[in-house]
């Protein structure tokens, strides 16, 4: 190996180092700023691809370009109607001004997250605590149905309470409030939402007790409805029975009465021809049917039947 080769080699390596230090790759998920001796220079780089810089004196700091997650801690907050609830929020944000972002938090995402914690949590606390619980739970004034339709619904305490804002609007207010503080961090807050709302443990037990008593009322109502319906059916049955039997009696009597009248008319018409003869015949007929072997008959010798015993002549 001669001197020439050594010099050539050194020059080649130096050139390689220079080239390697003068370009950088920015991914689709990234954005970057260039620092010159620690001081940002030029516009932030927001397009992905191959970019160039001065070697050695300039360095590159990369940031996320994607939408980033923020997950708040669960906070215990009393609502304006003094109900204690846990509220868990989440949000989505992104770095829109990498320069400001770099200056505000030195590019440290954890620092940024903790700023977001402070700002969003306080906004959440404010808006939850100045509203009724129902405002944070419900989203519209749609009518709530309870139990099955045929049971005609069931009165539940506060079920028809109307809301003025609703959850969507409250989270929008929280977002608005929190978003105001964001530009100075170079951050855009895209969304804040309530992930979970729940009663704190003590309240939960009370709510369960209320639910139990509510259910017992529904069960009781159901049972008494059953009894009521039963009584109704029984009453209906009795009524129907009376109608049917009395109707039948009426009809039967009517038929019999008509027949009796008809018979009476027939008899009257017949015997009207000769009432005297009729009574004669009928009387004799009745003798036949009324006399039997226990009957004692006392006959006078003057009677028509015995008159000839005394005297054959007239």
């Amino acid at each position: 190996m001669n001197k020439k080769t050594i010099v050539l080699g050194v020059v080649a390596i130096a050139a390689l180092i220079l080239i390697a230090g003068s370009y950088f790759v920015v991914d689709e998920t990234e954005q970057a700023i260039i620092l010159q001796f620690g001081k940002p220079v030029g516009q932030p780089i927001k397009t992905a691809g191959l970019h160039f810089k001065a070697p050695f004196i300039q360095s590159v700091v990369r940031f996320e370009k994607r939408v980033l997650e923020w997950d708040g801690d669960e906070n215990q907050i009393p609502t304006s109607d003094k109900k204690y609830i846990w509220v868990d929020t989440f949000g989505r944000w992104r770095i829109v001004d990498p320069l400001k972002y770099y200056q505000a938090v030195r590019g440290d995402e954890r620092a940024a997250q903790s700023r977001l914690d402070d700002i969003i949590d306080s906004a959440t606390r404010n808006y939850i605590s100045e509203n009724l619980l129902i405002e944070a739970v419900r989203n519209s004034n749609r009518e709530l149905k309870t139990t099955v339709e045929e049971e005609g619904g069931f009165e539940v305490e506060g079920i028809d309470q109307k809301i003025g804002k609703g959850r969507d609007q409250i989270t929008k207010l929280i977002l608005q409030k929190a978003a105001q503080a964001m530009p100075e961090f170079g951050i855009e807050l895209l969304d804040v939402r309530i992930k979970r709302i729940n009663y704190i443990e003590d309240v939960r037990q009370k709510v369960y007790e209320r639910m139990i008593s509510e259910r017992k009322r529904i069960a009781e109502k159901s049972r008494s409805e059953g009894q009521g319906r039963k009584a109704e059916i029984e009453g209906e049955r009795e009524k129907e029975f009376q109608i049917i039997t009395s109707e039948a009696y009426r009809r039967a009597q009517e038929i019999k009465g008509k027949a009796d009248a008809e018979a009476t008319r027939i008899y009257a018409e017949a015997m009207g021809r000769d009432p005297d003869f009729y009574s004669f015949i009928q009387t004799l007929e009745s003798y036949k049917s009324t006399f039997n072997n226990n009957t004692t008959l006392i006959l006078n010798t003057d009677s028509e039947f015995l008159k000839y015993l005394k005297n054959i002549s007239r």
Partner: protein, 328 residues
């Protein structure tokens, strides 16, 4: 050709010198092969390849064998766009299969939520989704799966929060699923996650454990109500048709009576009139004849007949016709 001689255990072996030209050739060959190999890539049937050149998105390629610029200038990320993924809320499948095993432990922090009537319900559900837009999926949102989980939970709480506990547990399950699907998709589109929600399905939806017996009691009471009503209807159905039958019977009997009565009257009248017609022809004789005939018929039936005379005082029998004296 040059050669080297080495000493292996006292024996001298001659190795022919490897020509330098061959070495260069081999190095270039291997390099070339590597370039070629790193330039090819395959995309499986259920995925697409997303190509970045120096980090910048260039193109999306369909399944098959493809070429890209080697040496790390172009890189490929493969995204399973055909596969349907699943997220579980309120429970975890520990081992899927014919009889899936579910992870022990409670996920109440996910599943316990407030209903619109300020009650609580335990809601478990799943979300199935696909990657609709691989570019957005890869480059637009960090941690897409967590975003989906956050969004789905917030949406479910929102939907359940606008319904009564009865609606959540019994009445409007499919309505809740539809609404949750719609809102979840809307939010995911807003965040440009590139996800497509295939389905949102409610799994077990129950009242909180301490309240469950009370809910069961309601079901029992409903069944009891049905039973009581059915029994009453049964009694009704037993009594009323019977009464109707009896009523019919009563009327038929009356009709029978009527026919009987009228016919008898007619018969009697006819008979009377027939006799009377004859009687009018010879009044006195017929009258006597009928009288005597009747007496003839009656008197033999009688056991005690006393004959008294007007001239006698008191009731002294003149004649007695004892019918039978035996046995006395």
């Amino acid at each position: 050709m040059a050669s080297r001689v080495i000493n292996v255990g006292g024996e001298l072996i001659e190795i022919p010198e490897f020509p330098k030209r061959w070495l260069y050739l081999a190095i270039v060959g291997i390099l070339g092969l590597w370039l070629l190999v790193s330039g090819f890539y395959t995309v499986d049937a259920d995925e697409v390849g997303v190509i970045q050149r120096f980090g910048k998105y260039i193109r999306t390629t369909e399944p098959g064998l493809h070429l890209k610029i080697p040496l790390g200038i172009e890189t490929v990320k493969k995204v399973k766009v055909q596969r349907v993924f699943k997220e579980e809320f309120g429970f975890r499948t520990a081992e899927a299969g014919v009889q899936s095993r579910y992870a022990a432990g409670s996920f109440l922090d996910e599943s316990l939520m407030l209903t619109g009537d300020l009650n609580s319900a335990v809601v478990e559900w799943i979300v199935q989704y696909r990657i609709k837009d691989p570019v957005k999926y890869l480059f637009h949102v960090r941690n897409v799966e967590e975003t989906l989980r956050d969004v789905s939970q917030s949406v479910m709480q929102l939907v359940v929060g606008d319904r009564s506990v009865d609606e959540v547990i019994v009445l409007s399950r499919s309505e809740i699923e539809d609404e949750a699907l719609r809102l979840t998709q809307k939010s995911l589109d807003e965040f440009e996650t590139g996800l497509d929600v295939v389905t949102v399905k409610l799994q077990d939806v129950n009242p909180p454990e301490p309240v469950q017996p009370a809910f069961n009691e309601v079901n029992q009471a409903r069944q009891e109500k049905e039973r009581i009503i059915n029994e009453a209807m049964e009694a009704y159905n037993k009594v009323i048709p019977q009464a109707k039958g009896q009523a019919e019977q009563m009327i038929r009997q009356a009709e029978g009576y009527a026919t009987n009565r009228v016919n008898r009257a007619r018969g009697d009248a006819e008979k009377f009139l027939a006799v009377w017609r004859e009687y009018t022809k010879a009044r006195d004789v017929t009258r006597r004849r009928i009288y005597l005939e009747t007496m003839q018929e009656i008197l033999p039936k009688l056991e005690n007949i006393y004959v008294v005379d007007e001239a006698q005082k008191g009731l002294i029998p003149l004649l007695q016709f004892p019918k039978k004296e035996e046995g006395k």
